[in-house]
Symmetry: C2
Subunit: 232 residues, 2 copies
Amino acid sequence: MSASTPPEPQIHVAVDMIVLTLRDEQLSVLLVQRHDEPYGGAWALPGGFIEVGEDIEAAAYRVLADEASLGTDDVYLEQVRTFGTPGRDPRGHVVSVAFMALGADLPDPRHGDVVQDARWWAVEDLARVNLAFDHGIVLDAAIERARAKLEYTTLAATFLPPEFTISQLRAVYEKVWGTTLDAGNFHRKATRTPGFLVELERYAAPTGGRPARLYRKGHGSALVPPLLRSGD
Amino acid sequence: MSASTPPEPQIHVAVDMIVLTLRDEQLSVLLVQRHDEPYGGAWALPGGFIEVGEDIEAAAYRVLADEASLGTDDVYLEQVRTFGTPGRDPRGHVVSVAFMALGADLPDPRHGDVVQDARWWAVEDLARVNLAFDHGIVLDAAIERARAKLEYTTLAATFLPPEFTISQLRAVYEKVWGTTLDAGNFHRKATRTPGFLVELERYAAPTGGRPARLYRKGHGSALVPPLLRSGD
DNA sequence: GCAATAGTGTCTTTAAGACATTATCTT
DNA sequence: AAGATAATGTCTTAAAGACACTATTGC
């Protein structure tokens, strides 16, 4: 274990990545286990310091590549908020720009060079996880952002492969929101909202029932009127 | 945040304030005129560097006090986004956290110690203004955030004094969105949305017509279902 | 045939859009 | 009284909720 550095008279800028995907029907987030102090043994969001002259988004993609083996095309990336309360990192004043990264069925993290232990955690199970720094708050902000954006954008499709069925799309909403939705009403909403979906002439392999038509994400980004959670 | 050691040459962290209010029936933003290079003579968002050990929000309030004579209770403050493209400030690598600050009928800026020239600009007239740095982009992001938040939150009331009429509230929407709304339908929406308004037993001084009932902001923060711009 | 999944149709309810109408003030 | 502004009411339309029903597969 390396000797702890004394706090320098400098503000450091970092990125924290909240990588979300659906795995085994569960909304899951990628966490890495810390081996150094502070918070040795605790789980943390993948992150890293921004270098001088480096763009914030570029740093975010760099961390995704280094710590999650994810490329630019694998995820949708969006800034969530910047956290900079002085005491949040005991080593010094660290200002962190939080990003959420959403992707379809992302792979298990490779162990190796940079990261020792990294794994997906179901959001549902996070109460049992000891999170480093203020990462619990950061995580909550990102998850709430993702949940809210499903309401008024077409972002749900980023959790799915390029071609998908309406049932899969509905499952995204249900898993991310933790609710159930009426299949018929959801079908109507999804197919009649302009720009949401592009109907294909192909069908998914049947799974013990009528084969489902395949769709692709449409070009629209807004869902007007929105699809509200409130209705349950 | 977990991996590498921070680099030597510094990244500076700043806050940029987008202070919005309604003045003379127009959505307006506070800008300060620069006297130093770079961008000497151009107009810029009020802003300042964060000091080591200083909270980001605290820095935002400090800038509001110094450059706009505004206190904590005068405005609603919300983080918008963080801008950090390396070339945005020719003097070095500056990462700026943008905040929007919304207030009711904010006063003219005092000239003096810190700021030489500061004034309110109608958002409508901004096309004619030479803006420093990337402040045009920052400003656009904040204005769009404010416009969007009127749709699904009760934020419109922050542009008004504690007690206000429904017509004044409607005017907020109309001026911020640049649209007109049906008075009757807006009245229905405002009064029947739970948590939006608290009805008072008092009336505004009549202005050549039936006196308008006074309302106070309710405790709700969300507007469900939202009040969409699309309808115009 | 039956169970399972996908998709459509129908009725009801909610809420918005487009007004007309009434209420209460100033002049 | 006329004009202005505020508030309410009514009719229509859009869209969601709550289903029932049909369609197409595997077994």
